[in-house]
């Protein structure tokens, strides 16, 4: 997403609220006021510039490596049979995903093949969703402004360049689209591994029907192939964007009412309702973070399972 162009010249709070909310959930890309963190020249038509969401994805990758991959590797190399502490908790999550999501959907035979993919999805999406609730950049901005005394207008300051844009990378349709593309190819690979290349494609449609039915059925099935990744893309990105917009809209009410009645008291009065509601939505967002990671993993398992166990 690109921050709204209308942010250039708004005068009133009412005019500022919309563009500000959009800029808080957007990526920093191709915008004069919110430039990329590192601007690079396109290579073979592909723009490799580092935007806010690219930076967040790198941070998420580091967090997943440090908190999941490294402790598990250490535990495996220790030769211990009983995990303890943090690894114990990871084991509980791994067992839940394997036994409640992977096994019932992909089946006993394929569970060890597909459980790693599903677990990678779960942990990556969980951390990418969760990082959106942690105000790292807001705290950095406060330190920069009030402790280091750097004005916001200083466009060459490193911290100022990373303050713009949203923190939730999974609210970006490109990110969820990339994750759904992995699911799309996983479905294909699962079907081909289970049935062979030719039979996998034959399994798309029911067998033994009159040939005119196939004229309608084959295009419907081919179009249906793209519906699954599209559902994953839209659902995750829309859910993550929606919660943040609701939160920001509620907090904006204080400024809107303050301006509407030309009184700080009106803004403070509204804050007595807006802040508890925003806190409640933030609490709900914690659940959303978990549920969305879980639903993406679950749907991926179902789609892979449908390619393996074909029922018509």
């Amino acid at each position: 997403m690109i921050p709204s162009q209308t942010i250039e010249g708004p005068k009133t709070v009412m005019e500022k609220v919309g563009p500000n909310i959009i800029s808080h959930v957007s990526n920093t890309y191709n915008h004069p006021k919110y430039p990329e963190i590192i601007k690079l020249e396109p290579i073979m038509g592909i723009d490799f510039s580092v935007t806010k969401h690219v930076l967040i994805l790198w941070i998420v990758a580091i967090i997943v490596s440090v908190s999941i991959i490294i402790p598990i590797r250490k535990y495996l190399s220790s030769g211990s049979l009983v995990p303890s502490g943090w690894v114990n908790m990871i084991e509980a999550i791994v067992k839940l995903i394997r036994d409640s999501i992977a096994k019932p959907n992909v089946g006993e035979k394929w569970v060890m093949t597909w459980a790693p993919v599903l677990l990678t999805f779960f942990f990556f999406i969980l951390f990418a969703n969760g990082i959106g609730l942690v105000p790292i950049f807001d705290v950095l901005g406060l330190i920069n402004r009030f402790l280091l005394g750097v004005p916001y207008s200083d466009k060459y300051n490193t911290i100022n360049t990373i303050l713009n844009g949203g923190v939730t990378a999974t609210a970006n349709f490109n990110v969820t689209g990339a994750l759904a593309t992995i699911t799309f190819f996983s479905i294909m690979i699962a079907g081909i591994m289970a049935h062979g290349f030719v039979k996998h494609w034959k399994n798309l449609v029911p067998h033994g029907l009159a040939w005119p039915v196939y004229i309608i059925l084959i295009p419907i099935e081919v179009m249906g192939l793209f519906v699954k990744p599209f559902a994953l893309t839209m659902r995750l990105a829309a859910n993550m964007t929606g919660g943040h917009i609701a939160l920001l809209a509620l907090l904006s009410l204080m400024a809107i009412f303050g301006e509407l009645f030309s009184s700080a008291a009106a803004g403070i009065g509204v804050s007595l309702v807006a802040i508890p509601m925003a806190a409640a939505i933030a609490g709900l967002e914690v659940i959303v973070v978990l549920v969305q990671a879980y639903v993406f993993t679950l749907l991926t398992a179902v789609f892979i399972g449908m390619a393996i166990h074909v029922h018509h």
């Binding site: 036994d99 999501i101 019932p104 179009m223 249906g224 599209f230 559902a231």
Partner: protein, 77 residues
């Protein structure tokens, strides 16, 4: 332990149900947006959106029925 097992059962049965509902809505949205894009690109409004909506409903309901049938066969076994 029994509550954990029933929780696991609910989790494992939720997948196909979620698949059925998401297939329908995603299909309608995908084809309507594609229709809108075609309308704007070829200036044939509203033919693209209408065709997209019809196609989306057909593909969506087909996918939903398929998901429900898959679920029933799986759990009736």
């Amino acid at each position: 332990m029994s509550s954990y097992l029933s929780f696991q059962k609910v989790l494992s049965q939720a997948g196909p149900a979620a698949n059925a509902s998401y297939s329908l809505i995603a299909s309608i949205l995908l084809f309507i947006f594609s229709g809108l894009y075609i309308d704007n690109h070829f200036d044939i409004s509203p033919a693209g959106v209408i065709t997209g909506m019809v196609l989306g409903l057909v593909v969506g309901f087909y996918q939903m029925v398929k998901a429900v049938k898959y679920k029933s066969k799986k759990y009736l076994k």
